[in-house]
């Protein structure tokens, strides 16, 4: 026994870990590539062309907090929508006179704009939207963020989607665009691309879907019946999706590159870390709320479990893959076992290659010029981004353990000012 026993134990252990990691990575890859499986699937992820008939009326919620600089532009653009029947409800805080003033001015100019004031002592996005929910007159409630660039024809497409599919929820695409800003924004943009372009459609098909934070449309009665958003959840959007799909509501996802809501990545690495921490913590909360347990099939529950735990497994994978290979190379394990330890790395490599192709496709879809240096950044930045994700995952668990579930807003911690001079907020959260 002795050394042989130890070696055998080590071999079995790393083989088991490697195979587990391999299957995890393989499934994630399979799902990530969902939209490109066949040309037919790709075609089905798009909005179908509206027939020119407008039947559904919209109430568009626009929560704004210290966003006086961009709010007016966003409202103007929303008002340019081709759809004929919608209202915009701007939600402002009672302690935020600057934003309130911009909102009031817009309301005075156009009767379709209304202002609702949120008077909660501790403010967050779900509370703000719940405040506005009783004021909604439309058949469908839509959510946007104050800095979103919304396509004028989006509402007409969503209207058509509601009518032709009998959906309770329609999720449109959201896309970060500024991939050239920094190495992490490049990866962040791609995460959105793979999520909204591809993975989310799989979730819709499987009947379990964590919704995105904006460009999401819910039938008003369905939303009221569900009690609105969970004010204590850090990922209220994800939570809403999980609750609605768990009780069998029909969710439809559509992605069109010229119809997506365009956003920008967080302005600094720190704010990205915080955003991701909040999102991870939110996922953890949704997991612990156990609404997903009502899903009818075992497969759906498994998908739910897996999806909500993904950030943590991702962190784990990133740390274990290199360790595993090091063990295989430096310890004298049998060649067969050493081979198995390379399996997760192989999957990671395939994912990497598909990311490169994804970046190319992203550039094509959005008419953006992707240069060689961007591909280089994508590859070199990969491991570092993995560290960031792992950091956010660990941080989320730590915060959740300590019971800290306040909204960690960058505006309180001295954030980066972008070109428009606005303090960017942490609200665009999207799983990837």
């Amino acid at each position: 026994m002795g050394i042989w026993g130890d070696l055998l134990l080590t071999s079995v252990f790393i083989a088991v870990v490697s195979l587990a990691l391999f299957w995890m990575a393989a499934f994630t890859l399979w799902w990530q590539m969902h939209a490109w499986r066949t040309p037919e699937v790709l075609a089905s992820t798009r909005f179908s062309r509206p027939d020119g008939d407008d039947h559904v009326s919209f109430s568009l919620l626009l929560p704004a907090r210290h966003e006086q600089a961009v709010l007016d532009h966003t409202i103007q653009r929303l008002l340019e929508s081709t759809h004929t029947d919608f209202e915009i409800i701007v939600i402002v805080g009672h302690d935020d006179p600057e934003t309130t003033e911009v909102a009031e001015r817009a309301a005075a100019r156009d009767p379709r704009v209304r202002v609702v004031v949120d008077t909660h002592e501790k403010k967050n996005k779900p509370k703000a939207m719940n405040t506005a929910l009783p004021h909604c007159r439309g058949d469908v409630v839509g959510v946007f963020d104050a800095e979103d660039q919304v396509h004028p024809e989006l509402l007409a497409h969503v209207d058509h989607a509601f009518r032709t599919t009998g959906a309770d929820v329609v999720q449109g695409g959201v896309q970060l665009i500024n991939f050239h800003s920094s190495w992490y924004s490049l990866r962040n943009c791609l995460e959105y691309f793979f999520w909204f372009r591809s993975r989310l459609h799989l979730h819709a098909q499987k009947g379990f879907i964590p919704l995105g934070g904006n460009t999401v449309f819910v039938r008003t009665d369905v939303l009221r019946e569900a009690g609105g958003w969970d004010p204590d959840c850090l990922a209220e959007d994800c939570d809403l999706g999980v609750r609605l799909s768990s009780v069998g509501k029909k969710v439809v996802v559509a992605y069109d590159s010229d119809m997506v809501t365009r956003e920008e990545t967080p302005g600094s690495l720190m704010s990205l870390l915080k955003q991701r921490t909040r999102w991870n913590q939110g996922f953890l909360q949704v997991y612990r709320k156990k609404d997903w347990r009502q899903l009818p099939t075992f497969g759906q529950r498994l998908l739910a479990r897996y999806t909500l735990m993904t950030p943590f497994m991702q962190a784990f994978t990133g740390l274990v893959i290199p360790l595993n290979i090091a063990i295989a190379v430096f310890l004298d394990v049998p060649v067969g076992i050493a081979f198995i330890t390379f399996l997760p790395a192989v999957t990671a490599l395939v994912t990497f290659v598909f990311e490169i192709v994804g970046l190319h496709d992203f550039g094509r879809q959005y008419g953006l010029r992707v240069r060689f240096v961007h591909y280089l950044k994508l590859v070199v930045g990969g491991p570092f981004y993995q560290v960031l994700l792992a950091g956010a995952a660990v941080r989320a668990v730590w915060r959740e353990q300590r019971g800290r579930n306040d909204w960690e807003l960058t505006s309180h911690t001295g954030a980066h000012l972008d070109a428009t001079g606005v303090t960017r907020d942490l609200r665009e959260d999207v799983p990837a």
Binding site: E40, L42, F208, V252, A328
Partner: protein, 548 residues
């Protein structure tokens, strides 16, 4: 219930991104799901039975056992026995995946009856490979839009040509590699254009290369097929996925060498580098069209078995190239045509080494291209410039011409194939081998303590007869080329008891001093067969005039 937006069901999809082109080449039956097409299943099934009967009947006795078959099967035996990748030091002559597959294929029969693990008996396992390959030729033909009869013709050409029958019966790595390559082609031409089918095509292509490295030449043709069959919107993902899969699986071979510390040359161990260097610097066998060169001889040996497939296939490839601009079939068969062209060009290298098995990897493509060329001619005769109101006599003339052509082709091919295939199912080419094996098993008193040089084809027979594998029964050339074996014979030929001089041994002994000496210092004690093909069992005579 949730679902994605069924945009594809609505007629209005933005024109600049037509989701799926539904148009198929005209005049061709659409390759719908073959599994649910009764006529396809029936045709393919009947042809498969015919191929299996012709290939399987008399498989152990014809053709003559080849040295290489013995090598691969013995190495498969070593894998089964847990002796590593070969019972001698594995020296990276070929990637080991081929005989690992043979080991898997023969696992159950050899577990039930260990004695059956000999070349003649285990040729039966190759029937499985032939069957899969033949079906894949049909499937590929249909996926490349060939009409049913032409796909069937391709399958017949591939499975029943006397050349195919001879070569596909033998335990050659090339046959396994062909199966994987055909799978790669079939997946690349998958009608559903599924990303993971293309990914699978990459894996299958890499498996083919790791089975027999010469399949590298065919990879561009797989890529051509995939390019043609993928959709513009998903092509870049499909192709990159396939190339990545292929490269990653292919890299596992150098990784294997690296993990064993045998990637680069060094003293005291074999290496992948040395193995590749050996293969790349094998002495050339001359220009294939240079009468009298080794390559010319190899070509003649192929043509001896069947001219139809080789000459007809090359002509078919030429026809498809010439008609490329207007022929639908030529476009559809771009992949197989490319494979034929590349393989022909490689064979035409002026000073390369051309092994006899080289043609095996070309067989399915020659068959498909010839079938495609035939379909093209049939189309030209029956349909070209045929207007709706064509006078009946003209139409009748078209059919008469087609019938004449078909009968003429049949009159040329059938008698030749009948002769070739009749030889294959009746001739007994291996009686001398079997007799030699029997003699060594029964007439030698103490096999466990007897040392004998044999060619690889007989090696496993003697292992089953009780000789000690590797040290007692020795692959003849290891006596000179493997230091680990030479070390066990400090007195050279004097440490041996017998040498079995088969044609292969006599041919190669010229360059192998120990083997040559063993033959010179031995006397035949039993001779089986006569002439060039005879097998002599020679007993070593020490200088004192007695045996060891």
């Amino acid at each position: 219930m949730t679902s994605t937006l069924p945009a594809v069901t609505t007629p209005e999809v933005p024109a600049h991104r037509r989701p799926v082109s539904t148009a198929r080449p005209t005049g061709r039956t659409a390759p719908s799901r073959l599994r649910s097409s009764r006529s396809d299943l029936l045709l393919c099934g009947v042809l498969l039975v015919a191929i299996l009967v012709v290939q399987g009947w008399n498989i152990a006795d014809y053709p003559t056992l080849s040295d290489d078959e013995g090598t691969y099967l013995a190495q498969a035996w070593a894998v089964q026995e847990g002796r590593g990748l070969a019972h001698y030091t594995y020296w990276y002559d070929h990637p080991p995946l081929g005989w690992i597959q043979i080991a898997v294929l023969t696992w159950i029969p050899s577990a039930l009856s260990p004695e059956s693990m000999t070349v003649g008996t285990m040729r039966a396992a190759m029937l499985v490979v032939s069957a899969v390959s033949a079906v894949l030729v049909y499937v590929l033909g249909r996926r490349l839009s060939l009409p049913r009869w032409a796909a069937g013709l391709g399958m017949v050409l591939f499975g029943l040509s006397p050349l195919s029958v001879v070569l596909q019966r033998e335990i050659f790595l090339d046959n396994l590699a062909v199966m994987w390559t055909l799978l790669a082609f079939a997946l690349a031409a998958s009608p559903s254009r599924h990303l993971w089918h293309h990914f699978g095509a990459g894996i299958a292509a890499a498996t083919a290369v790791l089975t027999k490295e010469t399949m590298l030449f065919v990879l561009p043709a797989v890529l051509v097929t995939m390019w043609r069959h993928s959709h513009r919107d998903t092509r870049k993902f499909a192709l990159t996925g396939a190339v990545t899969a292929c490269a990653l699986i292919g890299l596992s071979y150098p990784l294997f060498a690296l993990l064993k510390g045998e990637l680069l040359p060094g003293s005291g161990h074999v290496s992948l580098w040395d193995g590749i260097t050996y293969q790349m610097t094998r002495p050339g066998s001359g220009f294939i069209l240079d009468e009298g060169s080794g390559s010319w001889g190899v070509l003649q040996s192929w043509l001896y078995y069947d001219r139809v497939l080789i000459v007809g296939g090359l002509a078919g490839a030429l026809l498809l190239l010439v008609t490329w601009r207007w022929s639908v079939t030529a476009h559809a068969l771009a992949g197989p045509s490319a494979a034929v062209v590349v393989l022909a060009l490689v064979a035409l290298r002026p000073s390369g080494y051309l092994p006899a098995m080289y043609v095996i990897q070309a067989l399915p493509f020659l068959a498909l291209v010839l079938a495609g060329g035939t379909a093209s001619v049939a189309h030209a005769v029956l349909r070209r410039r045929r207007a709706a109101g064509e006078p009946r006599p003209v139409t009748a003339g078209r059919y008469a011409l087609a019938a004449v052509l078909a009968v003429a082709a049949g009159a040329y091919v059938v008698p030749r194939w009948y002769d070739g295939d009749r030889t294959a199912v009746t001739a007994d080419a291996n009686a001398p081998y079997q007799a030699a094996s029997k003699w060594l098993a029964e007439e030698v008193e103490d096999p466990a303590d007897t040392r004998v040089l044999v060619d690889d084809a007989l090696w496993l027979d003697l292992v089953h007869a009780g000789y000690e594998p590797g040290r007692g029964v020795i692959w003849f050339y290891k006596a000179d080329l493997d230091p680990a074996v030479t070390k066990t014979m400090p007195r050279g030929w004097k440490d041996l008891d017998y040498v079995v001089a088969s044609p292969t041994v006599r041919r190669d002994a010229v360059d192998l001093p120990n083997v040559k000496a063993a033959i010179e210092h031995s006397e035949p004690v039993a001779v089986f067969g006569s002439g060039e093909d005879r097998i002599e069992i020679r007993q070593i005579q020490t200088s004192a005039g007695g045996v060891r």
